[in-house]
Point group: C2
Chain length 382, copies 2
Amino acid sequence: MIEPQQQPGRLVATYRLRCPTYDAAKEVARDIAREQTLEVPPGVVSAELEGRLLGRVDGITPRAADGFDAQVSYGLEVTGTELLQVVNVAYGNVSLMNDVRLVDLSLPDEVLEALPGPRYGLEGLRDMVGARGGRPLISAAIKPIGRTYEELAGVAATFARAGVDAIKDDHGLVDQSPAPFLERVTVVANAVAEANAETGGRTAYFPNVTGPVDQLGSRLDHVIATGCPGVMVCPSLMGLDVMRSIASGPRPLAIMAHPTHSQTGPCRTEGIAPEVLYGTLYRAAGADIVIYVNAGGRFAWPVEQCEAINARLRAPLGRIRTAAPAPAGGVKDADAGSWFERYGPDTMLLIGGSLLAQQDILGATRRLVEAAVAATPVGVQP
Amino acid sequence: MIEPQQQPGRLVATYRLRCPTYDAAKEVARDIAREQTLEVPPGVVSAELEGRLLGRVDGITPRAADGFDAQVSYGLEVTGTELLQVVNVAYGNVSLMNDVRLVDLSLPDEVLEALPGPRYGLEGLRDMVGARGGRPLISAAIKPIGRTYEELAGVAATFARAGVDAIKDDHGLVDQSPAPFLERVTVVANAVAEANAETGGRTAYFPNVTGPVDQLGSRLDHVIATGCPGVMVCPSLMGLDVMRSIASGPRPLAIMAHPTHSQTGPCRTEGIAPEVLYGTLYRAAGADIVIYVNAGGRFAWPVEQCEAINARLRAPLGRIRTAAPAPAGGVKDADAGSWFERYGPDTMLLIGGSLLAQQDILGATRRLVEAAVAATPVGVQP
C-alpha cells in the first residue's frame, strides 16, 4: 500500500482499483477526481475553478495481483472541515462504482483540529476504570435479547464483581419489551454500582443508545442521570456524525463504537478498508473504544487485518487521542493471554458468549481479569 | 431470486451466499440466523428462548452460477418496529462477513405501520409541482461547488423559467464559503420564487441539508422560512433514521434522497442490493424521491438494475406511498424521451451536467420539459 504523506491543507485518499492496465487505472482515477469534486463535464466551469477545485491524481502504483492504487488529493475548499463532507469527498458517489475501494485516508490538520476524537482516549479510560500499570483492559457483554432487565442486571453484577473494566449492552438490546431502554439502564447501572461499592472497583457500564435519533438526547440524559460514564453507539447504523455530535457535545460521556452494519471486510474490492473506517474515521469522530471482529472468532478476518486496525487506533493523528481497539466476536476467554501477547497491553478484549456459556461465570470472569493483570508490561508496578 | 412471501409478524431477509455446496450454505444461513438474533452459543439460554427468538432458516435455493440464496426470517420480538433495529437485524453484524449479500427484504405489517414512508409520494409531488396528466417529472441540479450563491441562483432561475419540476443542490454543496447554507438557500429560493411568479409555474427547490446533525433542526427551519417545499438529504451519510425523523416530524417537507456513500452496486458479493436499499429501505424511511445512478451515464449500472429499483419504488408496500425514482448521474438531456419510454411516466429524470454544458441552458431545459410533457400517457389530457 502507498503510505500517503500528509499534505498541507489537502485530504489524501488512496483508492484500490481493479483495472487491467495502467492507462485504464489512470482514467478511473481521473474520473474519481472529477466525480468527487466538480461533478460536471470539462468546460462547464472556468479553467481557474477547475484548477482550484478538481481532485488531483497524485500517483498511481501497480499492485502485484489485483490492479492499482491511485492516490487522489482534495483541497480544503472542497472538503471543508465537517465530518460528513469529508466522508462525502473521500468515498461518496464513488462508493457506487464497482471495483473502487478506499484503502487509505490522510486528513489535513484543519480537519483533525475540527473533529473531536476520543474525549478520554485509551489513557483516560484507564484512569476512569482504575486500570493501573498500563495493563490491557477487559470488557464483557450482557446479552442476549429476550432476557429481562433483571436477568441482565444479574449478569452485569457478576461481571462487575469479577472486576471487568467495562460492561456493554449487546447491540441488539434496544427497547424491546423484556428490557426497555429506560428500565434496563436504570437497573443495570444500579447493579453495577452496588457491585462496585462491594468490591471497591470501578467497572463502567456502557448502555446501547442506538435507536431513533429524535430520542437520543433524552437517552443520553438518562444515562448521565444513572451515573454511567459512557455509552455504546453503532455509528454505521445511526450515522457517523451522530457519534461526532455526542463526542463534541456537553455530556462528559465516553463512547464505545460497535461495528454492526459497517459493511466492511478484508480483501473486498469495494467499500472502506476496515483499518481506515475504524482506525481513522471512527476514531476521529470520537470513539474512545472501537469494537471489531477478531481473528479466530465467528468471523473470518485475518489477524493481520486486526493488527492493522490496532495500529491505526494507536498511531499519531494530530491532536487526536489514541483509542482502545476492542477485538470481539467469538473471542474465547481461555485465549485471552495469547491475544494480549499478540496485540499488546493497549487493547480492550471484549468477551461475551464464551463467558456466558460457562457454569461458573464469576470464576471464569475472575480468571480473565487475572490474565489482564498478568499481562501488565514488565517493569511497571501493577 | 426467491420472491419471499410476506410472513405475518416476521421480517424476511434473503441473503445471497457465495458457497461451494448446499451444506455449506445451510451452515452459513444458520450462523446468520444466530448472529443476527441471540448471538450466543447454543446452550447459553433456555430452549424456549432459542425457539422463540433465534432467526429461522426458511429455505435455501441454489443459483445457477454463484452460490445460494438463503431466506431467513426474524420475529417481531427481535426486530421491534424501529427502523435502525430492523436494519440491524436484516444486515447488521453479517455485513462484516465476506460473501453475504442482502438481496431481498420483506417487512411485516407492524413495521410498515410504524415507518413513515413518503409524506407526499409520487402523486403528492405531482400535485405539489402542478404536473398534470400523469406525465414524467424533470429535475435539474445546480452545481458545482466553487460557484457563489448568486451564480447558483442565476442557474436555478433559468431552470425554473424553463419549467422544470424540481431543482436540487449538488450534494457537494454544503456550507463552503462561496455558497454557505443560509445565504444559498435564501437567495436560490428567492430566485426560484421570482421565476415561478413570472411564469405561473411551481418549480420546487430542494436544498441539501446534509451536514452536522446538531444543525439539522435549524437548517430545516430555515428551509421552511424560505418557503421551500422540500429538502435533499443523503441518508447513507447522515443516517437512515435522520431521514426517517424528518419524514415523521412536524415540518411538512418532501424529501429527495441522494445516494452518495450508500456503498451499493450491481453484482457485488456483499452489501445491500440497490433495489432493496433504495426501493424498500429509503422509501419506507420517508424518501419521496430516490436518486440513483442511471444506466448509460457515468456509472456502469445495467438498465435491468435501474428497472428493479423503479419497480420496488412503485410496488405496493403496505400503506406506504409510492416514491419517484430519479435516475441521474450523467443522463443526457437529449436522451430524455427514450428514458421516459423505457421507464414510464412514474419517473423523475434528474439532469445536471449535460444541461450546464450547453450554450443555451434555457433553451435546452425548455426542450427537456417539452419532452416530459410529450411523454404524458396517451388518453390523458395534459
